[in-house]
Each structure stands twice: as C-alpha cells, then as structure tokens.
C-alpha cells in the first residue's frame, strides 16, 4: 500500500487482489488455508456425503419397496401407505410387503423395486434362518442384533439420528451460549459478575446424576432428551464469546455506533457479534463431537432414548451384552470412530485455518 502518493479523489484498491467481496482478505486466506489442508477438506466432504446419504435412509434401508408397479399403476410405498386390499389382499391395514403372502399377490400382476437394504431399523426379520444375533451374511451384511434387526439398517438410521441430534444440540446451545456470553461481555460490570457466578455454579452440577434421575422419572423422547442436555450444554461458548465482547466493546467503532444513536441490541448483533463468530466457528466441530458422544454414552448406559429408536449407543450396549457376537460391538465402534475422527479432522482444519501463527501456504 503506498498511501498518500496519489490524489485522494479516485478510490484505489488497498489490495489489488481484494476485489469487491464480502469476504475480507483475512477470511479468504483462512478459506484457502482450510482448502489446502487435504485431510480436513476430504473429511468435510466425506462427512457431508455420509450425512446426505443418511438423510435419505428411508430409500436406502427400508422394509417397503421404493417403487411398485401393480395392475398397470405405479405406487410409492415409502411415501404413501397402501392397504393390503389394494393389491387384492384381505387386510385393511398397510400391506406387509416383505411377507410371502403379499409378495405373491404383487408378483402375480406387477413388480417391486426394493431398497439396497430391504430392512428398516425396526424390522424384525422373521424369515431369516439363523438364531439372533446372527452373523453377517448376504442377507444381513453386518448381521442382526439380539432381536433379529438388521445392523446395517440400524447404523444408517442411528447415524442420522446421532448427527441430527448433535447438530440440533450444538446449534441450540450455541445460540444460548452466544446470547449469554454476549450479554455478559457487552454490559460487563455487575451483570458480568453475577452471570459468571451463575455459570460457574450451574457448571458445577453433577450432570450425569441429574440426567439419570430425570430420565428415570419420565420416558424420554428425542425432543425431551434434547431439552435436558441443552440445560447443561449451553455453557461451552459463554467464555469465548464473553471474552471477545469484552475486547470488542472498547473499539472505536462501537463508540461510533453509540454516537449515532444505535441501541444496544443493534450494536451487539450487527457490530460486535461478527467478531465473536470467528472464535465460535472454531469451536463448533468439537461441540458437535461432544454432543454426539453425550447422546451415545447416555444410550449406552440405558438412560438415553427409549427402546425402538435406532441408536448407536444401544448397539454398543448390545455388543457388550453379546460378547459372542463381535459384529455388533465392532460395527458400532467403527461407525463412531470414523464419524468422530472425521469431525475432529474437520475441526482441526478449521482451527488451523483461523490460527494467525500459521502463515498462508
């Protein structure tokens, strides 16, 4: 930058490569750094692909066909429910497509396209030959669990539930944490003092015991469990955001915003928060990891989601109870290991990209 050597009238680029972009040169350098980190970049895409596939779990693993042709008409059993009578059966309930009776009815005058894995997470395979838990075979790639449910299907659904639960918990606890940290840091003084003490006391509660007591009082569903964990999970970001607000609130542009008459909420959200987002973003992958682990361990201990939900923790618990069926424990272990490792790689990439001590590559 050669300031001052040119007439002031014509604006000139401080940095010729800057261009007109919302992204500051710093942000673009971070993005480039992240992309240059092959491990993090590949991990990000792998995780993204796994999440996208699991979002369509119903068409990947299901005990209903994806598409069905019968009597010259098309049916979508994964999307809509059709009574057995539609296909000439006797029951008015939904057709049980995997039963021999219904198969024969449909095969007589039509065809079915089955998902890759013809079992859902809660399908109990009554037609399998062996004794549950059954070892991996062509019919059940990863075997079945102790009530004859397909492990591969349960992993796909369980992965989805874990990731969605983790994302929801991370997102909600970030919002609360940012709001609390921002309020404390921006106003400082007594609010900060009291806030910090409350956070410290709250963080001192024996979380696991409280959760065990509460879950034994009522049957938790995913939403209730989310709320419960949220109660103890929101403190993670408070310290970071608070520190960032304490620093930024003394900047001239905050005083300038006060001088033009902006109210506190606008100053916090529009002027100060964008600075705090950098620190927050660095934390998010690790928070997500923590959230997934929390849910899994509660399920493993049996204090998490009730029976019937596809849960990785429950799979691990089954593995522990059935040591003679190692495919249960191994499948659960590898799923968790891969998912958590990939997320840690992404997190490391984000952290390094934001690290000012690491120069651009």
């Amino acid at each position: 930058m050669t300031a001052g050597t040119l007439p002031m009238g014509a604006p000139r680029e401080a940095d010729p490569g800057a261009g007109r972009s919302w992204l500051s040169p710093l942000t673009r350098r971070r993005w480039a750094n992240f992309r240059a980190n092959r491990r993090a970049w590949t991990s990000l895409w792998t995780v993204a692909a796994m999440v996208v596939v699991s979002l369509f779990a119903e068409v990947v693993a299901n005990d209903k066909p994806i598409l069905l042709g019968f009597d010259g008409e098309l049916y979508w059993p994964t999307l809509f429910s059709y009574p057995e009578t539609t296909f000439g059966g006797v029951f008015e309930t939904e057709a049980a497509y995997s039963s021999d009776a219904v198969r024969e009815l449909i095969d007589a005058d039509g065809w079915m396209i089955w998902p890759l894995i013809p079992f859902s997470h809660d399908t109990i395979d009554r037609y399998t030959g062996g004794v549950a838990p059954e070892a991996p075979s062509a019919r059940h790639w990863l075997g079945t669990d102790d009530v004859a449910r397909d492990v591969a299907a349960r992993i796909i659904y369980g992965f989805r539930l874990s990731v969605l639960f983790g994302l929801a918990l991370t997102f909600l606890s970030s919002i609360i944490g940012i709001a609390v940290g921002a309020t404390q840091g921006y106003f400082g003084g007594l609010i900060d003092l009291v806030g910090q003490r409350v956070v410290e006391i709250w963080a001192g509660l024996p979380v696991l015991f409280v959760i065990i007591i509460l879950t034994s009082l009522f049957e938790p569903n995913p939403v209730a469990l989310l709320a419960l964990l949220l109660l103890f999970n929101w403190m993670a970001l408070v310290a970071v955001v608070r520190a960032e607000f304490l620093r930024t609130r003394n900047f001239d542009y905050v005083t300038a915003a006060r001088a033009i008459g902006e109210n506190n909420f606008t100053i916090m959200s529009r002027y100060v928060l964008p600075n705090a987002m950098v620190a927050t973003l660095t934390y998010l992958p690790f928070l997500l990891n923590g959230a997934i682990t929390t849910l899994t361990s509660l399920d493993f201990l049996g204090f998490g989601l009730p029976a019937g939900y596809p849960s990785l923790g429950e799979l691990l618990a089954q593995g522990k109870a059935n040591m003679h069926a190692p495919w249960l424990g191994l499948a659960g272990f590898f799923t968790l290991a891969v998912m958590l490792t990939l997320l840690v790689f992404v997190g490391e990439g984000v952290r390094d990209a934001f690290d000012p001590r690491r120069a651009a590559v």
């Binding site: 002031m8 009238g9 940095d15 001239d252």
Partner: protein
C-alpha cells in the same frame, strides 16, 4: 570505510519485490535519515540490515549490505548474532511492546551484558547503571527493579536506547523512535540521541516519516517511495532545492493554511460548565476507593461554524473531555447542546439528539466496523434519525455525502478493508456529517495518517466547515495541524485547562510556561526548561 554500506538492495515478499535498487552508506559519526510514508519500504530496509525480516517468505533477490565491511546478506545465524549484539543497536517505535513486560529494567539490559559482554552479576549491574545514567533516566538506581509498565513512554524509550547501547554499537538504527511519544518528550529523546551519537561517535540510521525530525537530526537524507530511493543528498540541499517530484510533494504536503474566517459572536452550539470526569480505579475489600480525576472542572464553549482546538499531551484528558461532552462517558457538570441541557437526560431521550453531535476518531482502521459495507456504515445513522427516508432516498443521500468527502459514489458497495487509511477517514467523516450535525468532535483525526494525506483531510475538513457551517471540537497533540484549523484553543494538562484563548494569540504569544514549552517542542523540536513533564 563506511560503517554501513548498502548496495542495490532488493527485498521480496513471496516473490513480489517491495524494495529494489536501494543504495546508501553511513560514515562514522553521521546521521542518515530514511524518509517516506507508510509502505515506502523504509522499515523493511532497516530490518534487512539486522536480517530480522521473516525469511520464511522474505528474500533478497539482489544486493549487499556490509557492516564494517562484513557482508550480512546470507550471513549465518551465528554471524548475525555477533553483528546484532556487537555492531548494531536498534531502537523501535513502540517502547511498550518492545520491552519484555515480565522483566525488570535491570534484567532487560543485564541480559545483553551477560550474553555479549560476558560480565558477572555485579559488573553487569554497574554497567547497567552507567548506561541508564548515559541515557539520563532520572533516579536510575531506584528504577533498576522497575517493570516497563511502571515507566512513562519517554522513560521506556530511554531504556530501549540504553539496551541498544549496551553492546557499544558502531551503528544505531532508530525506527521511528519518537512517533509514539508526546512532543515535549520527543524533543528530549531527539536531543539525547544527538548527544549520544556525538559522544560515542556512532553512525545513526534514522527512519521516520516526520520531516521536522529529519530537518533537525539528519546530515544526509534518503527519500523513499514505493520501495525505491528517489532522492538522496545533504539534508540542507534536499530541503532547499528538492529535485524529485515526490520530495517536492512531500515538502509541500505539511499541513498549512489558515482556519476558515468566521464572524464574531456566533451562537454556542455546545457549552459545558464545570465539567468533571472521575474514573473509579476500583477498591479492595478494606481499602478506600481510589479515583483518577481525568477532567477537572472544565468550561468549554464551541460556537457555530468555528473550531475549538484542544491540545495537550497524552493523558491530559482531551479525549475524555470530548466523550463526556457527547455523553458517551459519565460526567458531572452542566452540558448544553444549543439551549438544551443534556446532562440529566436519560439514554432514550438522548438518542434522538445524537444526530446533532457526531464524532470522528483517530484510528480509521478501528473506527469502521469491518464487516459492514460503506453504505451500511453511513446509512445506519439515517435509519435511526430519518425514518421517513426510503431505501432509495438513503442510497442517494449516501452517494451525495460520499461525493462531499471526495470519494466516488460507487464506493458505497465496498468494505472498509478495500480502502486506504485516508479514504477510511473520509468514510468516517461521511458517517458523521450525513446526519447534518451541528457539532463534530474530531479526535486526532489526522494522527494515524501519512503527512500528505493529513493535509488533504485538513483541507476537506475546512471545506466542509465552510459549506455546512459546522462547529468542530478538534483534539490533537499535533500543534501544526491545530494551527491550520482552530479558531480558539484550549491547552490541557492533567485534566485541567492551562491556557485558553484565541488560537492565533495562544500560538504567537503563549502566556504560561507549559504552553511555551509545548510550542517550542512542537515547532522547533527544542526542550525548554520549566513546563515539560519529566521523561
């Protein structure tokens, strides 16, 4: 043989040359000044001599640097340790960050003596004291155990100089040694450097953007711009008969001209009576509360279309006074905006009045929110105070005000990081005047800018004042700038007014000793006995 000989030096960062073809030499006992604006490559050149550039991405494609005949470009780290420790001393701009905050003064200097002079503890202590006396640190013996934060800026700079001298260097590199200091302290440090150079027969490489400092100190001058030396020669010759356009431009750029002429008896836009600001320094459980009286019973009147200048050294309460006047800081005393008393107003009641009083800060990098576009920054005030305006109206208003401050209207879609310091300061001024304020507080608006940009900003401010009949409260430690714009002047020291009156009169015939010392330090770079604080 010259002490330092630089020939055809080039410096590249990631392959891009930022300095090229730089050649100069310094003889024993001589001061050579490298002058240029920010980004001209003068500091990079100085750091090359010490081989202190980040060589992970910096390199020297060409050139040689010889210290006493010894080549330093490409020298090994061991050789460089010897050069740095024994031949060359360096004084940096910011004495607070250049000293280790966790070490005492004795340890900062003693370290060098252990390492390079292999002195024992008691010898090192004696030598340290000698050095501190050499740089005229008052009460040197008691200060051996002091930490950097316990010293004033000038005292810290003296310690830095003592550290640089500890290895008895033949060459002293001073990189903007007085830029962070008050004028009176600056004068003292400059005369100290001058005296030391003479007494120790050192060569001195002085890096500065301040032509006044160059004029006073340098035997020879190298004018740098865009990584090249465009003119070099004896100081007197360069100043009196500059040959290169850039040198002429630089010399002409020093802020000059007179304030906008005004009519007498204009109504007061803002007035304060007996204004005091007291900071709580906290209290222990059993201690009495401690306070700092940052502003003590100050009376201020700013009139329509006029500029009230406030000068004083750092810590004199100038900025605190301004923030208190705008009710951005709690204070005691009566404040009136026009006829309206605003001291007692609640925050909500005050908000609608904010458009009448605005502020522009010193640091154009810190005063603009980095993630908002120029348009969003400027129209934020309009959204609050001119709710009736449609988005299209606001866009036009932003375009108009940008033109007013000398920027292209299409600048509004860009972000602060795309602008230079001077342009950012124009955006900050636009943000203030788009609300049609009666009063604009300018808190050191030119101090962070290069000289030539300073002059342009002052011209702009005067022009805006003339056209919009603005009242300014102009805070600065730079008396040259204040003289170019202020009608009335207040001199502050330790939170109180030392002298006030018409600007011309205070400048030409200062009455108090403090003001006299301040003027001498600012305009002649001389120290006067009496007024100046100890450093």
């Amino acid at each position: 043989m010259p002490v330092l000989e630089v020939e055809d030096l080039a410096v590249a960062f990631r392959g891009e040359e930022v300095v090229s073809g730089v050649s100069f030499a310094i003889e024993r006992g001589e001061t050579v000044a490298l002058v240029g604006e920010s980004g001209s490559g003068k500091s990079v050149t100085a750091l090359s001599v010490m081989q202190l550039l980040p060589y992970r991405y910096a390199s020297h494609p060409r050139g040689s640097i010889r210290v006493h005949g010894q080549q330093v470009v490409g020298a090994t780290e061991d050789e460089m340790l010897k050069v740095r420790g024994e031949r060359v001393g360096m004084v940096f701009q910011e004495p607070m960050t250049s000293l280790n905050p966790l070490h005492t003064i004795e340890r900062q200097i003693g370290e060098i003596l252990y390492v390079h002079r292999a002195l024992g503890r008691s010898d090192a202590r004696g030598r340290t004291l000698e050095l501190l006396n050499l740089v005229a640190l008052p009460n040197a013996r008691e200060r051996l155990g002091a930490y950097p934060h316990q010293l004033s800026g000038g005292q810290r700079q003296r310690v830095m100089i003592a550290m640089a001298l500890a290895s008895e260097p033949d060459l002293l590199i001073a990189d903007e040694p007085t830029t962070a200091l008050d004028v009176t302290v600056q004068a003292q440090i400059l005369s100290l450097l001058e005296e030391l150079r003479e007494r120790l027969r050192m060569a001195m490489l002085l890096i500065t953007h301040d032509l006044g400092v160059v004029r006073k100190m340098a035997h020879r001058v190298c004018v740098m711009t865009a990584g090249r030396i465009v003119e070099q020669g004896r100081a007197a010759t360069v100043f009196n008969t500059p040959r290169h356009d850039y040198t002429r431009h630089l010399l002409a750029a020093e802020p000059g001209g007179d304030p906008v002429p005004v009519a007498r008896g204009a109504p007061a836009v803002m007035a304060a009576k007996e204004l005091s600001v007291r900071f709580d320094l906290g209290r222990g459980w059993f201690q009495r509360a401690r306070h700092l009286d940052a502003v003590r019973r100050v009376d201020v009147v700013v009139r329509r279309g006029q500029t009230l200048g406030i000068v004083g050294e750092s810590g004199s309460g100038k900025t605190t006074l301004a923030l208190a006047l705008l009710r951005l800081l709690a204070s005691k005393g009566d404040i009136r905006l026009g006829e309206l008393a605003i001291q007692g107003l609640r925050v909500k009641a005050l908000r609608p009045l904010r458009n009448r009083m605005q502020i522009v800060f010193q640091d154009p990098y810190g005063s603009l929110p980095p993630r908002l576009s120029v348009r969003e920054i400027i129209e934020a005030g309009l959204k609050i105070h001119r709710r009736e305006m449609s988005p299209a109206d606001r866009g036009r208003a932003v375009g108009r005000v940008l033109e007013d401050v000398g920027l292209e209207p299409d600048a509004q879609d860009r972000y602060p990081h795309e602008f230079s310091g001077g342009q950012r300061q124009r955006v900050a001024i636009a943000r203030a005047i788009v609300l049609n304020p009666a009063l604009v507080v300018l808190d050191e608006p030119t101090s962070a800018l290069d000289v030539s940009v300073q002059a342009q900003v002052i011209d702009l401010l005067r022009d805006l004042q003339r056209r919009h009949d603005l009242a300014y409260l102009f805070i600065s430690h730079d008396l040259k700038v204040v003289r170019a714009i202020a009608h009335e002047l207040i001199v502050m020291k330790d939170g109180a007014i030392v002298e006030q009156g018409e600007a011309a009169q205070v400048f030409d015939a200062p009455r108090t000793d403090y003001t006299k010392a301040l003027m001498a330090a600012a305009f002649e770079l001389e120290t006067l006995a009496g007024g100046a604080a100890d450093a």
